[in-house]
Symmetry: C2
Subunit: 166 residues, 2 copies
DNA sequence: TAATCGTGGATATTTTTTATCCACGAATTG
DNA sequence: CAATTCGTGGATAAAAAATATCCACGATTA
């Protein structure tokens, strides 16, 4: 059972956006460069996030992505589901009903207790993720050239603007 | 995030073994035929289960697999970990430290809160799976030719014995 | 002693994930 | 108003896992 790398990229991207000042946006290219990952791949997840209503997009020059709602209203679960889809990790293939001696009688068509137990654990997992919001994650900080400390998103935004200003 | 199909096969196999009468065993071939899955593939998981101390093996003719301990002592988590490995689903690649502006200073080398939150959710998930034992799952029942009801394992064991008796 | 079973490693096959590319439409800047 | 910059969405290629198979070996029991 492995979670895709896209989830980590997505969460860090959203976390960085949550540290931006009012009106600030970051382009997909900037986010990808900042994290050292493939732009086209990150783009796919950013689109999933905007499709899920977590991010807003700002088209045109100076455009990019920003949060669609308050950090407090965005949970880790929201992000995970947007990127990985909402299908449960455990999929019961009802192998009870296969083979030469299946539990085929309607009388025995009661729900698979194994499936039930696995899904319950997954509900608990999701509930835990739902408890944690972006606000709980906190803003990642970084050191700037002048020795001060700033939110990573803001710091990189400046670097990026300086570059595009040339 | 998807859990391998092997998990379902493994759990059903173990559940079936828990329904056997004292001294009874089922061969890998029987378990595979019963569930309608590939023998060689199931074998891989059965070996993982015996390696993890969940199943015992009985070599020789009339040999096979049986539980290594009481159903109450075997949790779903034990089985999942034996088959899927114990690595967490979420692997933090520390992408904070990548890109042109990494959080590299020792001062900021505090643990990644995102990773912490994801791993906590996974601990909760595993704790829930650990709560459920084979005894809680119950024995799967099936209808037999003569109209009676029997544990699926026993029923198939008889079928299998009849076949090998020829 | 012959048949049966599990062991373990090597290997092929299939599926999924990851990653990339391109043509298009929309919005903004100058 | 035109050029630039951005996101959209589908198609596609490359890489990685999962799934499935095979074979030679050792152990056990009828």
């Amino acid at each position: 059972m492995k979670m895709g790398d896209g989830v980590e990229q997505a969460i860090h991207s959203v976390a960085m956006l949550s540290g931006l000042s009012e009106g600030g946006v970051l382009s997909a290219a900037a986010l990808a460069e900042f994290h050292g990952v493939s732009t086209s791949y990150l783009l796919k997840h950013l689109q999933a996030l905007s499709g899920a209503g977590i991010l807003d997009t700002v088209p045109g020059p100076k455009g990019g992505y920003r949060l669609a709602k308050a950090p407090k209203e965005i949970s880790l679960l929201d992000i995970v589901l947007a990127v990985e889809g909402s299908a449960p990790a455990f999929r019961c293939a009802e192998i009870r009903q296969r083979g030469p001696n299946p539990v085929s009688d309607r009388l025995f068509a009661q729900p698979c207790t194994i499936n039930a137990a696995m899904l319950k654990a997954e509900r608990v997992y999701r509930a835990e993720l739902a408890k944690t919001s972006l606000a709980d994650i906190g803003i990642e900080l970084t050191a700037v050239d002048d020795g001060s400390i700033a939110a990573r998103g803001c710091a990189f935004l400046e670097i990026h603007e300086r570059k595009t200003a040339r």
